[in-house]
Protein backbone atom coordinates (compact mmCIF):
# COMPACT_ATOMS: atom_id res chain seq x y z
CA UNK A 1 0.00 0.00 0.00
CA UNK A 2 2.68 2.52 -0.87
CA UNK A 3 1.12 5.70 -2.19
CA UNK A 4 3.30 5.80 -5.26
CA UNK A 5 2.21 8.00 -8.11
CA UNK A 6 -1.33 8.47 -6.95
CA UNK A 7 -3.84 9.23 -4.28
CA UNK A 8 -3.37 7.75 -0.85
CA UNK A 9 -6.55 5.75 -0.67
CA UNK A 10 -5.90 4.12 -3.97
CA UNK A 11 -7.94 0.96 -4.37
CA UNK A 12 -6.18 -2.34 -4.08
CA UNK A 13 -3.92 -2.70 -7.07
CA UNK A 14 -1.58 -5.56 -7.55
CA UNK A 15 1.90 -4.94 -6.21
CA UNK A 16 3.35 -5.50 -9.66
CA UNK A 17 1.78 -2.30 -10.88
CA UNK A 18 3.64 -0.05 -8.45
CA UNK A 19 6.93 -1.69 -9.16
CA UNK A 20 6.56 -1.41 -12.89
CA UNK A 21 5.19 2.12 -13.14
CA UNK A 22 7.70 3.69 -15.56
CA UNK A 23 7.03 7.33 -14.73
CA UNK A 24 7.17 6.98 -10.97
CA UNK A 25 8.94 10.01 -9.50
CA UNK A 26 12.17 9.38 -7.62
CA UNK A 27 11.47 9.29 -3.92
CA UNK A 28 13.49 12.37 -3.07
CA UNK A 29 11.54 14.39 -5.63
CA UNK A 30 8.17 13.12 -4.41
CA UNK A 31 7.29 16.33 -2.59
CA UNK A 32 8.11 18.48 -5.61
CA UNK A 33 6.14 16.25 -7.96
CA UNK A 34 3.14 16.37 -5.62
CA UNK A 35 3.28 20.13 -5.50
CA UNK A 36 3.45 20.38 -9.29
CA UNK A 37 0.50 18.00 -9.63
CA UNK A 38 -1.39 20.07 -7.08
CA UNK A 39 -0.81 23.32 -8.95
CA UNK A 40 -1.86 21.66 -12.19
CA UNK A 41 -5.08 20.43 -10.55
CA UNK A 42 -5.83 23.91 -9.20
CA UNK A 43 -5.31 25.36 -12.67
CA UNK A 44 -7.60 22.71 -14.21
CA UNK A 45 -10.31 23.49 -11.64
CA UNK A 46 -10.10 27.22 -12.24
CA UNK A 47 -10.29 26.63 -15.98
CA UNK A 48 -13.23 24.21 -15.71
CA UNK A 49 -15.02 26.87 -13.70
CA UNK A 50 -14.55 29.32 -16.57
CA UNK A 51 -15.31 27.11 -19.55
CA UNK A 52 -18.10 24.94 -18.16
CA UNK A 53 -20.92 27.52 -18.32
CA UNK A 54 -19.74 28.61 -21.77
CA UNK A 55 -19.54 25.07 -23.13
CA UNK A 56 -23.02 24.08 -22.00
CA UNK A 57 -26.17 24.75 -24.01
CA UNK A 58 -27.58 28.23 -23.55
CA UNK A 59 -25.42 31.24 -22.73
CA UNK A 60 -24.87 32.90 -19.35
CA UNK A 61 -27.40 35.58 -20.18
CA UNK A 62 -30.11 32.93 -20.40
CA UNK A 63 -29.36 32.12 -16.82
CA UNK A 64 -29.67 35.75 -15.78
CA UNK A 65 -32.98 36.42 -17.45
CA UNK A 66 -36.04 34.54 -16.40
CA UNK A 67 -37.40 32.83 -19.55
CA UNK A 68 -40.93 33.66 -18.48
CA UNK A 69 -40.22 37.40 -18.61
CA UNK A 70 -41.33 39.19 -21.80
CA UNK A 71 -37.93 40.91 -22.08
CA UNK A 72 -36.24 37.57 -22.36
CA UNK A 73 -36.48 36.88 -26.08
CA UNK A 74 -38.30 39.84 -27.55
CA UNK A 75 -35.98 42.68 -26.63
CA UNK A 76 -32.87 41.88 -28.64
CA UNK A 77 -31.30 45.29 -27.96
CA UNK A 78 -31.45 44.93 -24.21
CA UNK A 79 -29.99 41.48 -24.57
CA UNK A 80 -27.08 42.83 -26.65
CA UNK A 81 -26.51 45.60 -24.11
CA UNK A 82 -26.36 43.15 -21.25
CA UNK A 83 -24.01 40.92 -23.22
CA UNK A 84 -21.72 43.89 -23.87
CA UNK A 85 -21.96 45.02 -20.24
CA UNK A 86 -20.67 41.67 -19.00
CA UNK A 87 -18.02 41.57 -21.74
CA UNK A 88 -19.47 38.42 -23.27
CA UNK A 89 -19.19 39.79 -26.80
CA UNK A 90 -15.40 39.85 -26.63
CA UNK A 91 -13.15 37.00 -27.80
CA UNK A 92 -13.13 34.08 -25.41
CA UNK A 93 -9.36 34.39 -24.88
CA UNK A 94 -9.76 37.97 -23.62
CA UNK A 95 -12.62 36.88 -21.36
CA UNK A 96 -10.45 34.12 -19.95
CA UNK A 97 -7.57 36.49 -19.11
CA UNK A 98 -10.04 38.91 -17.51
CA UNK A 99 -11.49 36.08 -15.47
CA UNK A 100 -8.08 35.02 -14.21
CA UNK A 101 -7.21 38.63 -13.34
CA UNK A 102 -10.51 39.06 -11.46
CA UNK A 103 -9.92 35.83 -9.61
CA UNK A 104 -6.42 36.93 -8.60
CA UNK A 105 -7.93 40.08 -7.12
CA UNK A 106 -10.50 38.03 -5.23
CA UNK A 107 -13.39 39.26 -7.37
CA UNK A 108 -15.85 36.37 -7.76
CA UNK A 109 -18.72 38.30 -9.29
CA UNK A 110 -22.04 39.38 -7.79
CA UNK A 111 -24.77 37.21 -6.35
CA UNK A 112 -27.98 37.34 -8.38
CA UNK A 113 -30.16 36.66 -5.38
CA UNK A 114 -28.53 38.87 -2.73
CA UNK A 115 -26.94 41.43 -5.08
CA UNK A 116 -23.76 41.55 -3.01
CA UNK A 117 -20.22 40.50 -3.98
CA UNK A 118 -19.92 36.72 -3.87
CA UNK A 119 -16.56 37.02 -2.11
CA UNK A 120 -18.29 38.73 0.84
CA UNK A 121 -20.87 35.94 1.08
CA UNK A 122 -18.13 33.32 1.08
CA UNK A 123 -16.04 35.14 3.67
CA UNK A 124 -19.08 35.15 5.95
CA UNK A 125 -19.85 31.45 5.39
CA UNK A 126 -16.42 29.84 5.27
CA UNK A 127 -15.59 30.02 9.00
CA UNK A 128 -18.74 28.06 9.88
CA UNK A 129 -17.88 25.30 7.43
CA UNK A 130 -14.33 25.08 8.75
CA UNK A 131 -15.65 24.94 12.31
CA UNK A 132 -18.09 22.15 11.43
CA UNK A 133 -15.52 20.09 9.53
CA UNK A 134 -12.90 20.60 12.25
CA UNK A 135 -15.22 19.58 15.08
CA UNK A 136 -16.78 16.69 13.14
CA UNK A 137 -13.50 15.17 12.04
CA UNK A 138 -11.88 15.55 15.46
CA UNK A 139 -14.76 13.64 17.00
CA UNK A 140 -14.62 11.06 14.20
CA UNK A 141 -10.91 10.46 14.79
CA UNK A 142 -11.39 9.97 18.53
CA UNK A 143 -14.44 7.70 18.22
CA UNK A 144 -13.39 5.78 15.11
CA UNK A 145 -9.81 5.09 16.09
CA UNK A 146 -10.45 4.14 19.73
CA UNK A 147 -13.35 1.88 18.73
CA UNK A 148 -11.15 0.34 16.05
CA UNK A 149 -8.34 -0.38 18.51
CA UNK A 150 -10.76 -1.91 20.96
CA UNK A 151 -12.56 -3.97 18.33
CA UNK A 152 -9.43 -5.27 16.60
CA UNK A 153 -7.72 -6.21 19.86
CA UNK A 154 -10.65 -8.44 20.79
CA UNK A 155 -11.33 -9.70 17.32
CA UNK A 156 -14.38 -11.97 17.12
CA UNK A 157 -15.47 -11.01 20.63
CA UNK A 158 -18.86 -9.69 21.59
CA UNK A 159 -17.83 -6.02 21.51
CA UNK A 160 -16.12 -6.51 18.17
CA UNK A 161 -19.19 -8.02 16.56
CA UNK A 162 -21.44 -5.30 17.92
CA UNK A 163 -19.18 -2.44 16.90
CA UNK A 164 -18.67 -3.95 13.46
CA UNK A 165 -22.40 -4.32 12.87
CA UNK A 166 -23.02 -0.80 14.19
CA UNK A 167 -20.43 0.94 12.02
CA UNK A 168 -21.16 -1.12 8.91
CA UNK A 169 -24.87 -0.42 9.32
CA UNK A 170 -24.40 3.30 9.85
CA UNK A 171 -22.06 3.63 6.88
CA UNK A 172 -24.88 2.63 4.53
CA UNK A 173 -27.13 5.51 5.61
CA UNK A 174 -26.95 8.55 3.36
CA UNK A 175 -25.69 11.53 5.37
CA UNK A 176 -28.81 13.62 4.73
CA UNK A 177 -31.08 10.85 6.00
CA UNK A 178 -28.94 10.33 9.10
CA UNK A 179 -28.99 14.09 9.68
CA UNK A 180 -32.78 14.24 9.35
CA UNK A 181 -33.24 11.37 11.82
CA UNK A 182 -30.84 13.01 14.28
CA UNK A 183 -32.67 16.31 13.97
CA UNK A 184 -36.04 14.67 14.55
CA UNK A 185 -34.92 12.63 17.55
CA UNK A 186 -32.51 14.94 19.38
CA UNK A 187 -33.80 18.39 18.48
CA UNK A 188 -37.55 17.85 18.10
CA UNK A 189 -38.47 14.91 20.30
CA UNK A 190 -35.87 15.29 23.03
CA UNK A 191 -35.25 19.01 22.67
CA UNK A 192 -31.59 18.73 23.63
CA UNK A 193 -30.26 20.98 20.90
CA UNK A 194 -31.60 23.84 18.76
CA UNK A 195 -33.39 23.01 15.50
CA UNK A 196 -31.38 25.06 13.06
CA UNK A 197 -28.72 27.67 12.55
CA UNK A 198 -25.32 28.26 14.12
CA UNK A 199 -26.21 30.70 16.90
CA UNK A 200 -29.25 32.19 18.58
CA UNK A 201 -30.46 35.13 16.49
CA UNK A 202 -30.55 38.66 17.94
CA UNK A 203 -28.55 37.57 20.97
CA UNK A 204 -25.91 40.29 20.94
CA UNK A 205 -24.35 41.90 23.99
CA UNK A 206 -23.96 38.65 25.84
CA UNK A 207 -20.84 37.63 27.63
CA UNK A 208 -18.07 35.99 25.69
CA UNK A 209 -18.62 32.71 27.48
CA UNK A 210 -22.35 32.59 26.74
CA UNK A 211 -21.70 33.16 23.07
CA UNK A 212 -19.18 30.32 22.86
CA UNK A 213 -21.56 28.01 24.67
CA UNK A 214 -24.33 29.02 22.28
CA UNK A 215 -22.19 28.25 19.22
CA UNK A 216 -21.14 24.89 20.69
CA UNK A 217 -24.76 24.05 21.47
CA UNK A 218 -25.74 24.66 17.84
CA UNK A 219 -22.67 22.85 16.54
CA UNK A 220 -23.06 19.66 18.57
CA UNK A 221 -25.59 17.78 16.46
CA UNK A 222 -24.31 18.62 12.93
CA UNK A 223 -20.77 17.82 14.05
CA UNK A 224 -21.94 14.55 15.62
CA UNK A 225 -23.64 13.49 12.39
CA UNK A 226 -20.51 14.29 10.41
CA UNK A 227 -18.43 12.38 12.97
CA UNK A 228 -20.61 9.29 12.72
CA UNK A 229 -20.61 9.38 8.92
CA UNK A 230 -16.83 9.51 8.76
CA UNK A 231 -15.96 7.39 11.82
CA UNK A 232 -17.06 4.13 10.17
CA UNK A 233 -14.18 4.31 7.68
CA UNK A 234 -11.66 5.17 10.39
CA UNK A 235 -12.96 2.33 12.53
CA UNK A 236 -12.63 -0.26 9.75
CA UNK A 237 -9.07 0.70 8.83
CA UNK A 238 -7.92 0.89 12.44
CA UNK A 239 -9.53 -2.45 13.21
CA UNK A 240 -7.94 -4.10 10.18
CA UNK A 241 -4.57 -2.67 11.22
CA UNK A 242 -4.96 -4.05 14.76
CA UNK A 243 -5.98 -7.46 13.47
CA UNK A 244 -2.88 -7.44 11.28
CA UNK A 245 -0.72 -6.78 14.32
CA UNK A 246 -2.24 -9.51 16.50
CA UNK A 247 0.17 -12.26 15.50
CA UNK A 248 3.25 -10.03 15.24
CA UNK A 249 6.53 -11.21 16.78
CA UNK A 250 7.20 -8.04 18.76
CA UNK A 251 3.84 -8.51 20.44
CA UNK A 252 4.77 -12.03 21.47
CA UNK A 253 8.11 -10.69 22.69
CA UNK A 254 6.35 -8.10 24.78
CA UNK A 255 4.05 -10.73 26.21
CA UNK A 256 7.00 -12.96 27.14
CA UNK A 257 8.58 -10.00 28.91
CA UNK A 258 5.40 -9.87 31.00
CA UNK A 259 4.26 -6.44 29.87
CA UNK A 260 0.84 -5.34 30.92
CA UNK A 261 -2.10 -5.74 28.51
CA UNK A 262 -2.64 -2.00 28.19
CA UNK A 263 0.95 -1.40 27.16
CA UNK A 264 0.83 -4.20 24.58
CA UNK A 265 -2.46 -2.94 23.20
CA UNK A 266 -1.60 0.73 22.81
CA UNK A 267 2.19 0.94 22.60
CA UNK A 268 2.90 -2.24 20.69
CA UNK A 269 -0.10 -2.96 18.49
CA UNK A 270 -2.04 0.29 18.06
CA UNK A 271 1.03 2.40 17.41
CA UNK A 272 2.07 0.26 14.46
CA UNK A 273 -1.47 -0.03 13.15
CA UNK A 274 -1.87 3.74 13.20
CA UNK A 275 -0.05 4.52 9.96
CA UNK A 276 -2.67 3.46 7.38
CA UNK A 277 -5.34 5.00 9.62
CA UNK A 278 -3.53 8.34 9.68
CA UNK A 279 -3.34 8.50 5.91
CA UNK A 280 -7.06 7.71 5.70
CA UNK A 281 -7.87 10.36 8.29
CA UNK A 282 -6.15 12.94 6.13
CA UNK A 283 -7.65 11.63 2.90
CA UNK A 284 -11.18 11.85 4.32
CA UNK A 285 -10.85 15.56 5.07
CA UNK A 286 -11.40 16.19 1.39
CA UNK A 287 -14.46 13.92 1.26
CA UNK A 288 -15.94 15.57 4.32
CA UNK A 289 -15.42 19.04 2.93
CA UNK A 290 -16.68 18.37 -0.56
CA UNK A 291 -19.57 16.02 0.15
CA UNK A 292 -20.79 15.90 3.72
CA UNK A 293 -20.86 19.65 4.39
CA UNK A 294 -23.40 20.19 1.60
CA UNK A 295 -25.84 17.60 2.96
CA UNK A 296 -25.39 18.16 6.67
CA UNK A 297 -25.46 21.95 6.52
CA UNK A 298 -28.55 21.76 4.33
CA UNK A 299 -30.52 19.66 6.79
CA UNK A 300 -29.48 21.71 9.82
CA UNK A 301 -29.71 25.09 8.03
CA UNK A 302 -26.14 25.65 9.18
CA UNK A 303 -24.89 28.90 7.59
CA UNK A 304 -21.78 27.48 5.88
CA UNK A 305 -20.67 27.04 2.28
CA UNK A 306 -22.64 23.78 1.98
CA UNK A 307 -25.97 25.42 2.79
CA UNK A 308 -25.03 28.21 0.37
CA UNK A 309 -24.67 25.56 -2.36
CA UNK A 310 -28.19 24.30 -1.65
CA UNK A 311 -29.65 27.82 -1.67
CA UNK A 312 -27.77 28.69 -4.86
CA UNK A 313 -29.14 25.55 -6.55
CA UNK A 314 -32.70 26.40 -5.48
CA UNK A 315 -32.45 29.99 -6.73
CA UNK A 316 -30.29 29.22 -9.77
CA UNK A 317 -27.78 31.74 -8.42
CA UNK A 318 -24.98 30.70 -10.78
CA UNK A 319 -22.21 33.11 -9.72
CA UNK A 320 -22.59 31.89 -6.13
CA UNK A 321 -22.77 28.24 -7.21
CA UNK A 322 -19.60 28.59 -9.26
CA UNK A 323 -17.74 30.33 -6.46
CA UNK A 324 -18.84 27.66 -3.96
CA UNK A 325 -17.64 24.99 -6.35
CA UNK A 326 -14.28 26.71 -6.61
CA UNK A 327 -13.88 27.08 -2.85
CA UNK A 328 -14.99 23.52 -2.02
CA UNK A 329 -12.80 22.14 -4.81
CA UNK A 330 -9.74 24.08 -3.66
CA UNK A 331 -10.30 23.01 -0.05
CA UNK A 332 -10.61 19.38 -1.18
CA UNK A 333 -7.48 19.24 -3.31
CA UNK A 334 -5.53 21.17 -0.67
CA UNK A 335 -6.63 18.65 1.96
CA UNK A 336 -5.56 15.83 -0.35
CA UNK A 337 -2.16 17.44 -0.83
CA UNK A 338 -1.86 17.69 2.94
CA UNK A 339 -2.75 14.00 3.22
CA UNK A 340 -0.06 13.04 0.72
CA UNK A 341 2.62 15.15 2.37
CA UNK A 342 1.69 13.92 5.85
CA UNK A 343 1.98 10.35 4.70
CA UNK A 344 5.37 11.04 3.13
CA UNK A 345 6.61 12.51 6.39
CA UNK A 346 5.21 9.78 8.59
CA UNK A 347 6.26 6.69 6.67
CA UNK A 348 10.03 6.38 6.73
CA UNK A 349 9.89 3.87 3.87
CA UNK A 350 8.44 6.49 1.52
CA UNK A 351 10.64 9.30 2.84
CA UNK A 352 13.94 7.43 2.58
Amino acid sequence: MTPVGGVVDEPATSPEQGARDPDRPARSRLGGARLAAYLLTVYVLVTINFFLPRALPGDPIDALLDPSQPAYLQNERLRAEITAYYGLDRPIGVQYVDYLADLARGDLGTSIRYNVPVADLLAERLPWTLLLVGAGLTAAVIVGLSAGVHSGWRRGGRDDRRLLALFLGVSNFPAFFLASIALFVFAVQLGWVPLAGARTPFASGQSWFTQVADVAHHLALPAAVMAVSVAADYFLVMRAGMVGELGADHLLGGRVKGLRERRLKYRYAARNALLPAVSLVAARVGTAVSGLTIFIETVFAYPGIGRLVFDAVSFRDYPVLQACFLVLALLTVTANLGADLAYTRLDPRVRA
Binding site: A12, Q17, V44, N172, F173, F177, S290, I294, T298, C324
Partner: protein
Amino acid sequence: MSVLRSPLSLAGAALLGGLLLVGALAPVIAPYDPHALAGEALEAPSSRHLLGTDGIGQDLFSRVLWGARTSLTVALGAAGLAMALAVLVGVTAALLGGAADTVAMRVVDVFLALPGLPLLVLVAAMVGANRLTLILLIGVIRWPELARVLRGQTLTLRQRGFVASARGFGGGLGWVLRRHLVPALAPLILAGFITVAGTAVLMEAGLAFLGLSDPTAVSWGGILNRALLQPGLYFTPAWTWWVLPAGFAITLTVLGFTFLAVGLEPALNPRWRRAS
Protein backbone atom coordinates in the same frame (compact mmCIF):
# COMPACT_ATOMS: atom_id res chain seq x y z
CA MET B 1 -17.88 -20.99 -6.79
CA SER B 2 -19.25 -21.77 -3.38
CA VAL B 3 -18.75 -18.19 -2.20
CA LEU B 4 -21.70 -17.27 -4.37
CA ARG B 5 -23.76 -18.95 -1.71
CA SER B 6 -22.31 -16.94 1.16
CA PRO B 7 -25.12 -15.58 3.32
CA LEU B 8 -24.08 -11.98 2.74
CA SER B 9 -24.09 -12.10 -1.04
CA LEU B 10 -27.35 -14.06 -0.95
CA ALA B 11 -28.93 -11.40 1.24
CA GLY B 12 -27.62 -8.69 -1.07
CA ALA B 13 -28.88 -10.46 -4.17
CA ALA B 14 -32.29 -11.04 -2.56
CA LEU B 15 -32.56 -7.36 -1.57
CA LEU B 16 -31.60 -6.11 -5.01
CA GLY B 17 -33.73 -8.71 -6.77
CA GLY B 18 -36.73 -7.58 -4.73
CA LEU B 19 -36.02 -3.94 -5.54
CA LEU B 20 -35.63 -4.69 -9.24
CA LEU B 21 -38.95 -6.51 -9.16
CA VAL B 22 -40.60 -3.58 -7.40
CA GLY B 23 -39.13 -1.20 -9.96
CA ALA B 24 -40.22 -3.31 -12.91
CA LEU B 25 -43.72 -3.89 -11.58
CA ALA B 26 -44.26 -0.38 -10.19
CA PRO B 27 -46.93 0.53 -12.78
CA VAL B 28 -48.86 -2.63 -11.88
CA ILE B 29 -48.57 -2.75 -8.10
CA ALA B 30 -48.66 0.96 -7.29
CA PRO B 31 -52.23 1.77 -6.22
CA TYR B 32 -52.10 5.34 -7.56
CA ASP B 33 -50.41 7.35 -10.29
CA PRO B 34 -47.35 8.72 -8.41
CA HIS B 35 -47.94 12.21 -9.79
CA ALA B 36 -51.70 12.29 -9.21
CA LEU B 37 -53.20 14.18 -6.31
CA ALA B 38 -54.72 11.08 -4.78
CA GLY B 39 -55.98 12.44 -1.50
CA GLU B 40 -55.83 15.22 1.07
CA ALA B 41 -52.47 16.74 1.98
CA LEU B 42 -50.55 15.02 4.79
CA GLU B 43 -52.98 12.17 5.35
CA ALA B 44 -51.79 9.64 7.91
CA PRO B 45 -51.16 6.06 6.74
CA SER B 46 -54.42 4.18 6.30
CA SER B 47 -55.82 1.34 4.21
CA ARG B 48 -56.40 3.80 1.36
CA HIS B 49 -52.91 5.28 1.55
CA LEU B 50 -50.53 2.71 3.03
CA LEU B 51 -47.79 5.28 3.70
CA GLY B 52 -50.00 8.34 3.85
CA THR B 53 -49.73 11.33 1.54
CA ASP B 54 -47.23 14.15 1.11
CA GLY B 55 -47.69 17.91 1.29
CA ILE B 56 -49.77 18.14 -1.87
CA GLY B 57 -51.69 14.89 -1.46
CA GLN B 58 -49.67 12.47 -3.58
CA ASP B 59 -49.72 8.85 -2.44
CA LEU B 60 -46.33 8.17 -0.82
CA PHE B 61 -46.51 4.38 -1.13
CA SER B 62 -46.84 4.66 -4.90
CA ARG B 63 -44.06 7.24 -5.03
CA VAL B 64 -41.66 5.04 -3.05
CA LEU B 65 -42.41 2.11 -5.39
CA TRP B 66 -41.79 4.24 -8.47
CA GLY B 67 -38.64 5.66 -6.89
CA ALA B 68 -37.01 2.23 -7.20
CA ARG B 69 -37.14 2.62 -10.98
CA THR B 70 -35.24 5.90 -11.08
CA SER B 71 -32.72 4.79 -8.51
CA LEU B 72 -31.88 1.46 -10.14
CA THR B 73 -31.94 2.79 -13.71
CA VAL B 74 -29.44 5.51 -12.85
CA ALA B 75 -27.32 3.15 -10.74
CA LEU B 76 -27.07 0.40 -13.35
CA GLY B 77 -26.69 2.83 -16.25
CA ALA B 78 -23.94 4.84 -14.56
CA ALA B 79 -22.12 1.69 -13.44
CA GLY B 80 -22.30 0.25 -16.95
CA LEU B 81 -20.95 3.45 -18.48
CA ALA B 82 -18.17 3.78 -15.91
CA MET B 83 -17.06 0.18 -16.43
CA ALA B 84 -17.13 0.50 -20.23
CA LEU B 85 -14.94 3.61 -20.09
CA ALA B 86 -12.67 2.04 -17.49
CA VAL B 87 -12.14 -1.11 -19.56
CA LEU B 88 -11.60 0.88 -22.73
CA VAL B 89 -9.05 3.30 -21.27
CA GLY B 90 -7.39 1.10 -18.67
CA VAL B 91 -6.89 -2.01 -20.75
CA THR B 92 -5.97 -0.15 -23.95
CA ALA B 93 -3.43 1.98 -22.08
CA ALA B 94 -1.80 -1.10 -20.58
CA LEU B 95 -1.69 -2.92 -23.94
CA LEU B 96 -0.36 0.00 -25.96
CA GLY B 97 2.11 1.19 -23.32
CA GLY B 98 4.50 4.04 -24.01
CA ALA B 99 3.20 7.54 -24.64
CA ALA B 100 -0.46 6.44 -24.91
CA ASP B 101 -0.21 4.85 -21.47
CA THR B 102 1.44 7.91 -19.93
CA VAL B 103 -1.14 10.29 -21.37
CA ALA B 104 -4.04 8.09 -20.29
CA MET B 105 -2.72 7.81 -16.75
CA ARG B 106 -2.14 11.57 -16.47
CA VAL B 107 -5.75 12.10 -17.57
CA VAL B 108 -6.83 9.61 -14.92
CA ASP B 109 -4.77 11.49 -12.30
CA VAL B 110 -6.41 14.79 -13.16
CA PHE B 111 -9.89 13.23 -13.05
CA LEU B 112 -9.15 11.57 -9.71
CA ALA B 113 -8.07 14.87 -8.20
CA LEU B 114 -11.35 16.58 -9.12
CA PRO B 115 -13.79 16.77 -6.22
CA GLY B 116 -16.67 14.62 -7.45
CA LEU B 117 -19.73 15.90 -5.66
CA PRO B 118 -19.26 19.67 -6.05
CA LEU B 119 -18.52 19.14 -9.75
CA LEU B 120 -21.59 16.93 -10.09
CA VAL B 121 -23.77 19.56 -8.42
CA LEU B 122 -22.41 22.37 -10.58
CA VAL B 123 -22.83 20.54 -13.89
CA ALA B 124 -26.21 19.06 -13.01
CA ALA B 125 -27.49 22.52 -12.04
CA MET B 126 -26.31 23.97 -15.34
CA VAL B 127 -27.23 21.17 -17.75
CA GLY B 128 -30.47 20.30 -16.04
CA ALA B 129 -30.85 16.95 -14.33
CA ASN B 130 -32.69 14.08 -15.94
CA ARG B 131 -32.06 10.35 -15.97
CA LEU B 132 -29.80 10.45 -19.00
CA THR B 133 -27.62 13.37 -17.85
CA LEU B 134 -27.33 11.82 -14.37
CA ILE B 135 -26.17 8.51 -15.86
CA LEU B 136 -23.64 10.30 -18.06
CA LEU B 137 -22.35 12.54 -15.26
CA ILE B 138 -22.00 9.84 -12.61
CA GLY B 139 -20.47 7.42 -15.09
CA VAL B 140 -17.92 9.97 -16.28
CA ILE B 141 -16.98 10.93 -12.73
CA ARG B 142 -16.57 7.36 -11.52
CA TRP B 143 -14.55 5.65 -14.27
CA PRO B 144 -10.97 6.83 -13.59
CA GLU B 145 -10.11 4.88 -10.44
CA LEU B 146 -11.40 1.66 -12.00
CA ALA B 147 -9.43 2.37 -15.16
CA ARG B 148 -6.32 2.50 -13.00
CA VAL B 149 -7.12 -0.80 -11.28
CA LEU B 150 -7.83 -2.51 -14.60
CA ARG B 151 -4.65 -1.10 -16.13
CA GLY B 152 -2.61 -2.57 -13.28
CA GLN B 153 -4.22 -5.96 -13.61
CA THR B 154 -3.82 -5.95 -17.40
CA LEU B 155 -0.12 -5.20 -17.03
CA THR B 156 0.31 -8.37 -14.98
CA LEU B 157 -1.87 -10.39 -17.38
CA ARG B 158 0.21 -9.19 -20.29
CA GLN B 159 3.23 -10.88 -18.76
CA ARG B 160 1.48 -14.24 -18.84
CA GLY B 161 1.95 -16.41 -21.87
CA PHE B 162 -1.52 -16.55 -23.34
CA VAL B 163 -1.80 -12.87 -24.26
CA ALA B 164 1.69 -12.78 -25.77
CA SER B 165 1.00 -15.89 -27.85
CA ALA B 166 -2.34 -14.53 -29.06
CA ARG B 167 -0.57 -11.35 -30.20
CA GLY B 168 2.20 -13.47 -31.71
CA PHE B 169 -0.28 -15.45 -33.77
CA GLY B 170 -1.50 -12.18 -35.22
CA GLY B 171 -4.46 -11.45 -32.92
CA GLY B 172 -5.38 -7.76 -33.08
CA LEU B 173 -5.93 -5.57 -30.05
CA GLY B 174 -9.70 -5.90 -30.29
CA TRP B 175 -9.50 -9.68 -30.50
CA VAL B 176 -7.14 -10.00 -27.54
CA LEU B 177 -9.34 -7.61 -25.57
CA ARG B 178 -12.56 -9.51 -26.26
CA ARG B 179 -11.29 -13.06 -26.29
CA HIS B 180 -8.63 -13.06 -23.57
CA LEU B 181 -8.52 -9.97 -21.42
CA VAL B 182 -12.16 -9.22 -20.66
CA PRO B 183 -12.82 -12.81 -19.46
CA ALA B 184 -9.70 -12.72 -17.29
CA LEU B 185 -10.64 -9.31 -15.93
CA ALA B 186 -14.32 -10.20 -15.45
CA PRO B 187 -14.15 -10.58 -11.65
CA LEU B 188 -12.58 -7.13 -11.25
CA ILE B 189 -15.05 -5.62 -13.69
CA LEU B 190 -17.97 -7.15 -11.80
CA ALA B 191 -16.62 -5.93 -8.47
CA GLY B 192 -16.17 -2.45 -9.92
CA PHE B 193 -19.67 -2.50 -11.35
CA ILE B 194 -21.21 -3.33 -7.98
CA THR B 195 -19.18 -0.67 -6.17
CA VAL B 196 -20.02 2.06 -8.67
CA ALA B 197 -23.70 1.09 -8.69
CA GLY B 198 -23.80 1.46 -4.89
CA THR B 199 -22.22 4.91 -4.93
CA ALA B 200 -24.39 5.93 -7.89
CA VAL B 201 -27.50 5.22 -5.79
CA LEU B 202 -26.15 7.59 -3.14
CA MET B 203 -25.18 10.23 -5.71
CA GLU B 204 -28.54 10.16 -7.48
CA ALA B 205 -30.37 10.38 -4.16
CA GLY B 206 -28.04 13.13 -2.95
CA LEU B 207 -28.50 15.27 -6.04
CA ALA B 208 -32.26 14.79 -5.96
CA PHE B 209 -32.19 15.72 -2.28
CA LEU B 210 -30.54 19.01 -3.26
CA GLY B 211 -33.30 19.58 -5.80
CA LEU B 212 -31.41 18.28 -8.83
CA SER B 213 -33.62 15.53 -10.21
CA ASP B 214 -35.64 14.68 -13.27
CA PRO B 215 -38.84 16.71 -12.89
CA THR B 216 -40.89 14.00 -14.59
CA ALA B 217 -39.48 11.03 -12.67
CA VAL B 218 -40.10 10.09 -9.04
CA SER B 219 -36.95 9.88 -6.96
CA TRP B 220 -36.44 8.92 -3.33
CA GLY B 221 -34.06 11.84 -2.90
CA GLY B 222 -36.69 14.08 -4.47
CA ILE B 223 -39.28 12.92 -1.92
CA LEU B 224 -36.87 13.92 0.87
CA ASN B 225 -36.17 17.25 -0.84
CA ARG B 226 -39.86 18.15 -0.87
CA ALA B 227 -40.26 16.99 2.72
CA LEU B 228 -37.40 19.20 3.84
CA LEU B 229 -38.89 22.24 2.14
CA GLN B 230 -42.25 21.68 3.84
CA PRO B 231 -42.51 24.33 6.57
CA GLY B 232 -42.76 22.96 10.08
CA LEU B 233 -42.47 19.36 8.93
CA TYR B 234 -40.55 18.28 12.01
CA PHE B 235 -43.39 19.37 14.27
CA THR B 236 -46.02 17.30 12.50
CA PRO B 237 -46.33 13.53 12.70
CA ALA B 238 -46.01 13.53 8.89
CA TRP B 239 -42.22 13.37 9.30
CA THR B 240 -42.44 9.66 10.13
CA TRP B 241 -44.34 8.56 7.04
CA TRP B 242 -42.92 11.13 4.64
CA VAL B 243 -39.19 10.93 5.42
CA LEU B 244 -38.59 7.44 6.84
CA PRO B 245 -39.81 5.19 3.96
CA ALA B 246 -37.87 7.03 1.23
CA GLY B 247 -34.79 7.28 3.44
CA PHE B 248 -34.86 3.58 4.29
CA ALA B 249 -35.43 2.72 0.62
CA ILE B 250 -32.15 4.47 -0.27
CA THR B 251 -30.36 2.85 2.66
CA LEU B 252 -31.62 -0.64 1.77
CA THR B 253 -30.54 -0.28 -1.85
CA VAL B 254 -27.05 0.82 -0.83
CA LEU B 255 -26.99 -2.01 1.72
CA GLY B 256 -27.91 -4.49 -1.04
CA PHE B 257 -24.93 -3.45 -3.14
CA THR B 258 -22.64 -3.45 -0.08
CA PHE B 259 -23.69 -6.98 0.92
CA LEU B 260 -23.18 -8.21 -2.61
CA ALA B 261 -19.73 -6.63 -2.81
CA VAL B 262 -18.56 -7.88 0.59
CA GLY B 263 -20.00 -11.36 0.06
CA LEU B 264 -18.40 -11.75 -3.36
CA GLU B 265 -15.06 -10.30 -2.33
CA PRO B 266 -13.23 -13.61 -1.81
CA ALA B 267 -14.29 -14.71 -5.28
CA LEU B 268 -13.58 -11.40 -6.93
CA ASN B 269 -10.38 -10.18 -5.38
CA PRO B 270 -7.41 -11.80 -7.12
CA ARG B 271 -5.19 -11.27 -4.08
CA TRP B 272 -7.54 -13.23 -1.85
CA ARG B 273 -7.68 -16.02 -4.35
CA ARG B 274 -3.92 -16.24 -4.59
CA ALA B 275 -3.64 -16.41 -0.82
CA SER B 276 -6.06 -19.27 -0.41
